[in-house]
Amino acid sequence: MFRYFVRALAAMVGKSPVLYGLTVLGVALGVASVVTIQLINDNAIAAFAASVRAVTGDDELTIVPSLGPLHDSTMRVALGDRETVTARPIVRVDAMVGQERLSIVATDLTQPMRGPLEPGAERAGDPLATPGWIALSPQLAGTLGLSVGKTFTAVAGSRRVTLTVGALVDFKKSLPLAPSALAVMDIAQAQSVFALPPGLDEIAIDLADGADVLAAAARIGQTLGERARVLTPDERAEEAAGLLAAFRLNLTALSMISLAVGVFLIHGALQATLLRRRTELGVLRAVGATRRQVVGLVVGEVVLIGLLGTALGLPIGIAAARANIDVVSGTLTNLYLLQAVEELRVPAWVVVLGVAVGLGSALLGATLSLLELRREDTRALLVAATLQESLLALAPRLLAAALALAATTIVFGVVARPWAPAGFVVAVAILATVVLATPWLVLRVSRLARPRGFGVAYSMRALGQKLTSNAFAVASLAIAVSMMFGITAMVGSFRATLETWIGTTVRADIYVSTETRGRLDDDVVRAIAATPGTRAVDVLRRGEARLGARTVRLSGVHVMLPGVPSRWPLMHADDGVLEAVAGGGAVLVSEPLARKAKLSRGQRIRLRTSTGEHELAIAGVFYDYTTEQGTMVVDTTTFERLAGEVAPTSVALYLNDGVDTDATVLHLQARLGDAPVVVRSNQRLRATILDIFDQTFAITVILQAMSFLIAVAGIALTLLIAARERAAELALYRALGATRRQVFRMFVGQGLSLGAFGLVLGAVGGSALVMVLILLINRAYFGWTIRLALPGWALAEQAATILGAAVLAALYPAMRASRTPAQELVRDDL
């Protein structure tokens, strides 16, 4: 039987290489989309873990502050545990060298550690005594054109400092994913050079050999109480994973849709293969082959398609991840302040996942066909029309199931709304509804078409003829289009909402901040505030606070500025809200925080800050899109009471009427020439915010493209199959006087009809999907209100692309079909 399998397979591939290739491509793209996303997800977390471990090595425990910096006394607790061998204080500083980012890890270099103090490392000067001594990675030194002994200028916050390259340390040797922007210097030097406030960012603890890590963590944690948390390396990685959970979940869900479309494609291809080989398989059964042998033949074929698709999909997925890592890395850095992902690591589990997805999707796609093959009736295998007839009979029942599912989904969506994953369940149900309704709709509409010529109406009419393959092609395209439309509409709505929000919140004429989101020195702030033509000045200070187990961002601003209209987009009426914040010490809560922590206006909350515990009233809730983690806003005076003396991170200037903003920006830039700050006009800040937004959603475009490509391959495949299966019908047209051009046009029309069907059904599915994305998924995972604002032009462009792609996909099959000779009309197989 194996020899038969090989010969039959070779004959099949030789006879229809394009068809076979498209099937393999469907699996490949499905595998690629999953592999791309999982690689990006994994590498984002791995980069974070590597940046932690690169300097501290394999320390067993890390103490991180619950709030604000760790007090120096925490070192005594760390060193005081009986299992502690070393405890290394760490302070992190983000700096810029020209356009390059520098992640400085400052630690106690008198202690033994890997890297700069290792014997044999190239060094110059004394790490402790040479002013500004810093160890850079060779990669960064190369980029900056520096070598050991050279000095350079770095900028942290609004402070410009001179550093000396004391050593080159290749962190990547021990940890390939360590960021090249990593730099190491002595903690005392860093605190002095950068004029850092007192306190530590973390403490790395190395325990004695054989020590019980968890017990030591519990002991130290108990001593520290609520001031700090003690984490194992795994827990730190989990923290990063948790931070990215919503981001990762969304990307994974998108990649699954591509996979689902791929499964449809495989199903269509296998169904066609089986239809063509029914007679052959029927004869095999008739001459004594068992059901198991026949099923084995097909399973072998499916497994081979799965393996070939995986072999092709893995490199495509890796290449796509590599090509997009910068985009995603930029997003992660912007949104979550995580380390940039520089290199792509391909862990074994992703390869295993790719193989599982490839084989699994191929077998899933073959399920219906295999069930058909298991039929007892050998004779049924010899009748080509069985499947077509069964789908014709099933179509109304599938429609009824679709309607029932739609009704259940609506009820479920309303009832289960508080349950976060409900949105994903509803999204899947919507796609399933579209799929179930497709056969009936294709049949119905094809029957409604009244062809008066051999044009598009005729092509439309012919769709109902091969319902099995056509319905699957339409369904897979409809899923891809639903996803494209849904996401485009959601992103467009989100962007429009954001633009409106920016219009309300970004009201100042000029904003001054630093590249690293660091602190602005007092003299710089004074200089900015003294800008001529200024009507009002607002100063933003940032800190952290604990609300129960949640760490939230605490912002201090002048909530009410004289002569400046309110810039707080409140979710409710402003009946004395701002007065309560400005004068009454109350707090404004961002929408994501209000949703996630179930906070509401009027409620009193207990907030823990670096100065102790405070009870505050919530004066109001405002729309906020800066962070999904949640923000609380208090007035400047309240902020000082809660967080103490904190240097500002940005200053907003409101200019008098008639003052030229651009000229003032130039004036400020000239005046602050020595201070490394970023001066942005209102317009430029708005553009920057929207740029970051666009970058955030860039990866979704890749996934949409993959899914779309699979669906288009599905159309090409369906039509290629049709060109083969309908040879006798095409020959009849030719015999009755249809020219090759007419047959070509009719086939292209059929591609267009498939595209149009997919487009219409996808538009319906996409409309439902966008509501789910906006009302359920976004609210549950990010807590944002997005107002529906359909990006008409973008959707129209996509619709045109879909129809254009459908026509393109039809060209080759149409060419094949047009070459069908009238002589093919010799069999009774119409």
Binding site: F454, Q465, A735, R740, L830
Partner: protein, 222 residues
Amino acid sequence: MSALVFDKVSKRFEGGRLVLDAVTLEVPAGARYAIVGRSGSGKSTLLHIAAGIEVPTTGTVRLFSKALHELDDRGRTLLRRDNVGLVFQFFHLLSHLTVEENVALPAMIAGTMSAAMRERILRLLARVGLADRARDSAQKLSGGEMQRLAICRALLLSPKLILADEPTGNLDDATGRDVMQLLLGASRDEGATLVYVTHSQELAALADARFVLHSGVLETAA
């Protein structure tokens, strides 16, 4: 005037098998000719060459004075569309079309569908007793009804020549006789030339002239 002229037409398929061997035949306009022969004798190939579907290996074919070998594929297709009606043994109806639409197919292809054409379709269907089935799916018809429908399709564009390949080959004897009578009557009424192939001597006897095709050689029947 001759509707169809075969002059020493031979056809050799790939592999070398000679299917037609120097066939010479002249069919006068308005005549009804029958060609009989066993399975594989080359009857269908002869009709295909007459319709311009197949190209002879040697010899010339003239259809209404036009030499087929001088026409390209498109020319032969258009000549066939405008002048020839085809009836097949296996009917070759399209299941996704209604009875009426199956008849209308040649007009759809020719781009000549109109209200007048629709009236003609209904008249043709009435003539073969299928007027009340116009909206039904062609799949629902019996074998005899299917062939009557196929005859309507062949007659729709008022062809000057009807080529029928075993039109009764898939029908029982009684139905076959009815269908043959219908075909003969319709071709006469429409003023069309009819060439049909059959393996039935009884049906062949209904023609003006009979020929026997034996191993690719065409001979006048006794």
